[in-house]
Symmetry: D2
Subunit: 356 residues, 4 copies
């Protein structure tokens, strides 16, 4: 239970870290949409491990195979689009070392309590590798939304105490940590390499921008844009806090400071992050996702074995010392999937804007 | 669209600020649950306006009428529980003054873009009054969960720059601002009365605790406990940031600081807020919700009329100068509704724990 | 559980036979649709008991009160439309006589096994009175679909052994049994009055036509038009068989007889009832619903008491001797609700037909 | 849209007749259920073409590959079970001959109107081959329900005018047409071979029995057992009529004949087919599905080309002359999937029967 999302752009993912593969089935795509395998590959590559000295060295080709949903000409045909990505480099021996005890900060213990099963190799379904399916689905959502001018991008905002003071999105895309601030990039790198050198990891955060969103997306009450995005973002394992617009800072402002004044084309400023009453204003949507440090660390920690005996654990293997660089494409994917679901809803009013 | 939530404890709400009434229909309740009208009233009263010098003076009886779903003995009978709360004190004249222009910080403009309709009296569906349905549903969820020992409470954590340094939950429940810290209560009151006196409003936040949760609630991937709670919390109009456990602070920690060490009964500390891998650990769940200031302020603001003419607006009427005190019971309700939906899922494993 | 239907035109009903009232909440209606209370009343009146010598004498005003969802000008405003119909003439004393035992052919026994509760007065949620909510929702769906030229009507096709040989829809609408065939009307009446006079009841059936349906409604695999209509029709208590087009007769034909030849505008004949591959062809959709006799009869039957003692039961009270006349408007309603749900789906292809 | 079913035992299928493969993802399975690949293969083999002189000669290995969801010991692990069946023998050349025009009785025309695409090879998603995914899912549902004693079987009831007078289920399982009546088997065979010899096809029907069902499955109003089964059965392409219990025959009975008398353990007879008020009584559930003749016939038929020109068409290729023998395992699968969805719902009452 839990691997289904979306009512209109309906996404079901499957797969485990060390099983035959991972994948996604998307139902609800309109027919006639060109799907470019290279574009999916590009998004998968952005998420892929082993891209920089800071990232895990696991080598995965992450080649998507499309199992259904396309015409021979590469257009969606109205039936479910299924994508399979086979696992290639699953080193179970690394995990064998920790298999007998519960890794702190991981889902081992809660899965054990819920399912009555010992931890699966590599975390099984709870592994970060699961997000490869999301990124594949996000790439399809991106293809659907791009013709409308909707674009979504995310990059690293902070590592430990170092937080970007300015945003250079082009710089970020080329930087090994995807960090937004060129001026502070060296400091950010130092924080990350320091943690890595000590066998430790460090927390980080990501900023996300969705541009080109028309006014009117999102629904009142439970399906507010932030509500469904909030669910999407908190469904990413390591995310512990989410904010929209000026977010947390709004909670210490006065009303006269916080309200965006209105002009004939909507709000004149962006404190609310492109959303009012849960519905897009037409301005850029901004969100920030705050992630805990990678829970897998080489440093020795206290835990218990499956039998409840106190033991020491050191989690070997190929782990990123921080999550933001690979969280960014996953956050984009979750945002795109969520926006696609709003986009494909029927019209909100008679005579309203035609759908795609 | 958007007024439905939950797959197992299924909740549909309806109603507008100035219509005949508001209500909720709940499907999925097991039969045989005693429903105490007084308990629903108690939760409605905690949300009700007009309770303190700081709250809006709108007078609503908020008397729930149960339209269906109970046996003559007051037990749920397996069919939908429907609750209606009639509007009594809807002063449309207050709203008439601002009807011709878009109130800053409100949904007037986005609803206009989405539905093609001028702002409804009192905000219509986008009014905070809509949350009365949620609180009624939450009271029913509370009745369902209480026999398991699950309890949920929320109180005010901050007003503007004043943030509680310690938590006294009993004090909070009796305090007119529901503020958690008796030592700082006067400062918090001063912030709020100051804003009110100036015709302004102020941001605030709420802390929520869910206790007595068994281990194993929540589902992998998209239905993580934080994901569905995140959606629930961000569906409350004014909420702009949400965090779980140590939340945002985790993003500047090291892994060796952030991981909760494990003991034979699960995590030994609470940095993750009672959840690992999206599934409850059995420890208390903690969340914090950060709300913007009340957007309705008497101070003059820049906006436009329905025709796009620049105008000045002052929003008269009975508005809370801050949202936390009434946000708290709504946050509780959304948490309870979400937990009830997890509780009523079928078993996660063969031979697993029996349901209610 | 079970009172929710539709993903786009989402309908939740509530209410019991002898409770305060029945109702429905509809989410997903586009804004700007005029809702005419008189039109809803007209459909409710067509379903209402007490309209002819053949129908139950229960007197219900069945006055719909709209609780939310309309502008002051009577247009839908994008928020849920809630309709309440209060019970007025619930004679519990009639039911008191049979309360201690399980009425044959009724849901008393299965509800008892499922919910652990003795039969509720008048059958509670399992009463045919429940369908009043469906008819109200159907009237709203009718208002949504009428501007497209979609019309749905149903009338009585058979009573016991008497089956209409021809269809006169205007005659049917005015006939007390809503029977389609003027030539056989007297025979049909005789069957029904005969059963009534003997304290018995008789089976019947209904034919339904949906006209004006554009080609392309319905979805492959699980959401075929007939699939969702099949669910809708079998959700009506007494329906035991459903067929589309030439239905059952197709199962004894040859392929060369059964296939509708194709012309440039689609099928040239109607053996498949306006649907191919689960998707509308643009021709009229035809369905037939076969209902068992009214289970409540005055004739003595064998049953058991709540304690399992064998007893004789005679079900007094005001019961229709046959169901078709009142089944017809309910079948229309379920068809309309289902069609509205298909209508409000997003576009099936890029550049496809604009929605309402 | 349309390839998702079930709220608790959630099934998403994908794949087209001539694409890389077909498959299914199932979410909601409790952990700890042994999945036997041989049992899935057995059900797939029962549906497989090429098994008898009467069936299409297409040769498909139909080997299921499990992509995720199992522990190394073959138990479900709580995450989605994904099954892939690759296409092996897709002879597109057969279809090339008819690709330029709309095959009568097929979905070519409606898909064209809906998706704006010319007919896909072999019918694409509308091909009967799509049902292989359902049978795989049904086999998993069977494994889930078998330990409860629930068993589901279906066999051929009629071919053209020849209808079984008695039921010999063991005989049927071994008979090439899966026909229920040994005495009439030769006549049934003659009907089918006669049609085949003439290049024609013939209609047929199937009877289904679900035994061992506990009392209390099914939900009031829209989720009645027959409602969800009706949707499931009508989602099978060729099915044009469905009945439960004595079905259509009940519509010409008297109430005194139709009501099953009640004993201390429920109904004493089976006219209602094991269901009352949409909820199982604990007796066997019976349904009958009536299918049109195979639409693909060698005999020449009138149709139009994609450009709307009148043309003659003869559909060559490997087609079954009748559908019942292969419909039977698909009907079983759809019944099993539907029952599993009811089984996995939460409890209907406090202190109710524990789940698996």
């Amino acid at each position: 239970m839990g691997s289904l999302t979306g009512r209109y752009f309906t996404v079901m993912t499957f797969g485990e870290s060390h099983g035959p593969g991972l994948g996604v089935v998307i139902d609800g795509l309109p027919a006639g949409l060109p799907i470019d395998l290279a574009a999916i590959q590009r998004d998968l590559d952005r998420r892929k491990p082993g891209q920089s000295p800071f990232a895990t060295a696991r080598k995965e080709g992450d080649r998507p195979e499309i199992l259904s949903g396309l015409t021979s000409g590469g257009l969606t045909n109205g039936s479910p689009l299924a994508i399979l990505i086979r696992n290639e480099d699953a080193r179970s021996q690394d995990y064998a070392k920790t298999a007998g005890s519960f890794r702190p900060g991981h889902a081992d213990w809660t899965y054990f309590k819920k399912y009555g099963l010992p931890p699966q190799p590599g975390g099984g379904r709870s592994s970060g590798r699961e997000t490869v399916s999301r990124v594949a689905a996000g790439a399809v959502a991106r293809a659907l939304l791009a013709p409308l001018g909707v674009s979504v991008r995310a990059a690293s905002l902070s590592f430990g105490p170092v937080r970007a003071a300015r945003r250079d999105w082009d710089f970020a895309e080329g930087h090994p940590l995807r960090f937004l601030d060129p001026d502070l990039a060296q400091e950010a790198e130092a924080v990350v390499s320091g943690a890595k050198a000590r066998g430790d990891s460090v927390g980080s955060s990501v900023e996300l921008k969705a541009g080109g969103l028309p006014a009117g997306w999102g629904d009142p009450v439970f399906d507010k844009l932030e509500a469904n995005l909030g669910r999407a973002f908190f469904s990413i394992g390591a995310v512990r806090a989410v904010e929209f617009g000026q977010g947390l800072a709004l909670s210490s402002m006065l009303g006269s400071e916080a309200n965006d004044p209105m002009g004939p084309l909507g709000p004149l400023s962006d404190r609310h992050g492109g959303v009012l009453g849960g519905i897009s204003t037409g301005r850029d949507l901004t969100a920030r996702l705050y992630a805990k440090p990678t829970p897998s660390i080489a440093l020795e920690q206290d835990t218990v074995s499956l039998d409840g005996e106190a033991v020491k654990i050191s989690v070997p293997g190929r782990h990123d010392p921080c999550l933001a660089p690979r969280l960014a494409p996953v956050a984009e994917a979750m945002c795109l999937i969520t926006l696609a679901d709003f986009y494909l809803r029927g019209p909100a009013r008679l005579g309203g804007p035609a759908q795609p």
